[in-house]
């Protein structure tokens, strides 16, 4: 919340639980009702008297609510977008009240497959209902009501976070003044669905998976493979070439067997291992499935322009030139649909070699775009 003497942004995890009864539960797209629901969130900065400076930021597939700062000075790691959120940073905590929550279905504090099913008294695992991006947004709306915020100055996210930003416009157009959609798409492409499928198959074919009831013996192999596949899609040909080339890892010659020889192999192995320490395999199934089901154009019978008819927020859409997972043309489709509704939109395709990961790495350019855009939106709200 405030800067301490050690000069770090103090992050405090908070919980909001709703749905003590079925009536108050979350009605899901699948038709099922989920209750109770806990949302883990963090806030930074102060909500002003007019409640006009609140910004909701969404995390991507495997992120969490810990967007910036540290919980205690001894923490080794800062939040996942720490370069962007803080005093004097693009999401300036001296000006804005920043909210970030863990998604429904996640495994970092919000209700997901690891939560206890109130009916059975046991962990949900695969009894957890399949959720959608809309469901995530509906849960966030309950948090918004709890925080007594009427309208977000901006809703902001990259990748799956950008899908949530677009889904907010679809679900609650009157509650959003502006949208910043980064490296995202209005519908998941067949190519991305295919990668998600491979990731889930890896998990579900791990003998430890056991139909989701793996207890303390999780399908680490499968989850690590899913992460490795995912990670390849976050990089680019160019970034892999410059990061690893064909360099060998801790050896001079080929080993003439199938153990890891190349740096890129070692890197992927490391990413997979690190991931299983912090992420739940079932959660990966649910959240990736939610992405597969995302298609904003469905509201307009397949026509995105029609689906965005009521979107009268101000938009900024950002893509990255080397992102082949959510390529620039996916962003351009969103821009075109908004323009075809005569909506105000700013679009920038940032030149970058980092692939999809660029949304976490190109912080300087991204920061300049975001701080400029937010400044204009704040002035609009003040003058309204």
């Amino acid at each position: 919340m405030t800067k301490s003497t050690e000069n770090y942004l103090k992050a405090i995890p908070k919980d909001f639980t709703f749905g003590q009864s079925e009536n108050d539960g979350l009605r899901l797209d699948s038709g099922r009702v989920l209750y109770p629901v806990n949302i883990r969130y963090e806030t930074y900065g102060t909500l002003n008297k007019e409640k006009s400076n609140a910004v909701l930021i969404f995390h991507a597939l495997t992120g969490d609510a810990h967007i910036a700062g540290k919980y205690s000075p001894s923490d080794k790691k800062v939040g996942w977008w720490d370069e962007m959120v803080g005093s004097g940073k693009p999401f300036d905590t001296d000006k804005y009240f920043i909210v970030c929550s863990n998604v429904l279905g996640g495994c970092s504090g919000s209700t997901g497959p690891t939560a206890i099913n109130p009916i059975s008294g046991k962990q949900y695992n695969l009894d957890f209902p399949v959720i959608t991006i809309n469901d995530m947004v509906q849960a966030q709306n309950r948090l918004m009501e709890h925080l007594q915020i009427d309208c977000w100055l901006s809703v902001v996210g990259g990748s799956m976070g950008g899908m949530q930003a677009l889904a907010w416009i679809d679900n609650f157009p009157e509650k959003v003044h502006s949208v910043i959609a980064i490296a995202t798409t209005s519908k998941l492409s067949p190519q991305s669905i295919a990668f998600d499928w491979v990731g889930r198959e890896a998990i579900m074919n791990d003998p430890n998976w056991n139909n989701g009831d793996y207890g303390d013996n999780p399908p680490e192999q499968g989850l690590a493979i899913a992460r490795m596949v995912g990670h390849i899609t976050y990089l680019s040909d160019l970034s892999m070439e410059s990061k690893f080339g064909r360099r060998l890892q801790e050896r001079e010659t080929y080993s003439f067997d199938f153990t890891r020889n190349f740096q890129v192999e070692s890197y992927l192995e490391y990413q997979g291992q690190r991931f299983v320490e912090r992420f739940d395999a079932n959660s990966y199934l649910y959240v990736s499935r939610a992405m597969d089901y995302f298609d904003l154009s469905l509201k307009g019978d397949g026509d995105l322009t029609r689906a965005l008819k009521h979107a009268d927020a101000k938009f900024m859409v950002i893509s990255f030139s080397s992102d082949w997972l959510f390529p620039p043309h996916a962003s351009e489709e969103i821009v075109k649909a908004l323009r075809n509704n005569n909506r105000e939109v700013t679009y920038c395709n940032i030149e970058s070699a980092y692939g999809h990961d660029a949304f976490l790495l190109e912080t300087e350019t991204l920061g300049r775009l975001i701080s400029g855009f937010l400044k204009s939106r704040s002035e609009e709200v003040k003058n309204a």
Partner: protein, 205 residues
């Protein structure tokens, strides 16, 4: 920031003329809007609603910092994201010579806006003619500083050429504002020879 934008604008006489023509509260599309100075000044002074299109990332960053809405795009790909008749004015200042198909871009501009304001450098200007005639070389001038092999200005035209294209396309020229550096009376009298630059207001016939 506004002061600086006004100062920059004052250096471009064609933009000053265009800014004068556009009435308050207009909807303006500025193609190749650069750092957004024209839109910025018009937004503050005439409360216009505007959108820019720009190809350079650095210039987009400048636009966003000024609160100018801008779309990163290449005019060679057309204006399909814009609806028919969705703007009162479409501005194309000193850019038409750099696009691959000026004729097609004009068609799109006619579709999107009620009036288009086009300014360009007149290659029929006497200095350019003199260079070609006396020295037998492609003209290099202060407004056209590049060599033939590296110039982005691939479709240079004279004022006469542009008017001929408009007439072929049945585009109505409602205003023609040639202007020169110091021989302004000559530019008015014989624009094709004495006006290095010209602003045209054009509409669908």
């Amino acid at each position: 920031m506004l002061k600086k934008a006004k100062k920059n604008l004052a250096k471009r006489q064609d933009l000053m003329i265009i800014a004068d023509i556009i009435p308050p509260e207009s909807k303006v599309l500025d193609l190749g809007c650069g750092n957004g100075d024209l839109i910025h000044v018009l937004k503050e002074n005439k409360n216009i609603y505007a959108c820019g299109v720009e190809i350079s990332q650095d210039k987009i960053l400048e636009c966003v910092n000024k609160g100018v809405s801008v779309i990163h795009g290449d005019l060679n790909n057309g204006l399909s994201e814009f609806l028919d008749d969705s703007f009162d004015f479409v501005v194309l200042s000193q850019t038409i010579q750099a696009v691959q198909r000026p004729d097609k871009l004009l068609d799109d501009m006619m579709r999107v806006g009620k009036t288009s304001l086009v300014s360009f450098m007149n290659i029929g200007f006497w200095r350019a003619r003199a260079q070609l005639f006396f020295r037998g070389k492609m003209p290099v001038t202060t407004t056209l500083p590049h060599c033939w092999y590296n110039t982005p200005n691939i479709h240079l035209a004279t004022i006469k050429d542009f008017k001929k294209l408009c007439s072929e396309k049945q585009i109505k020229i409602t205003k023609e504002i040639p202007f020169g550096e110091n021989l302004n009376f000559a530019a008015q009298l014989f624009p094709n020879l004495f006006a290095p630059t010209c602003v045209f207001c054009i509409e669908k016939a």
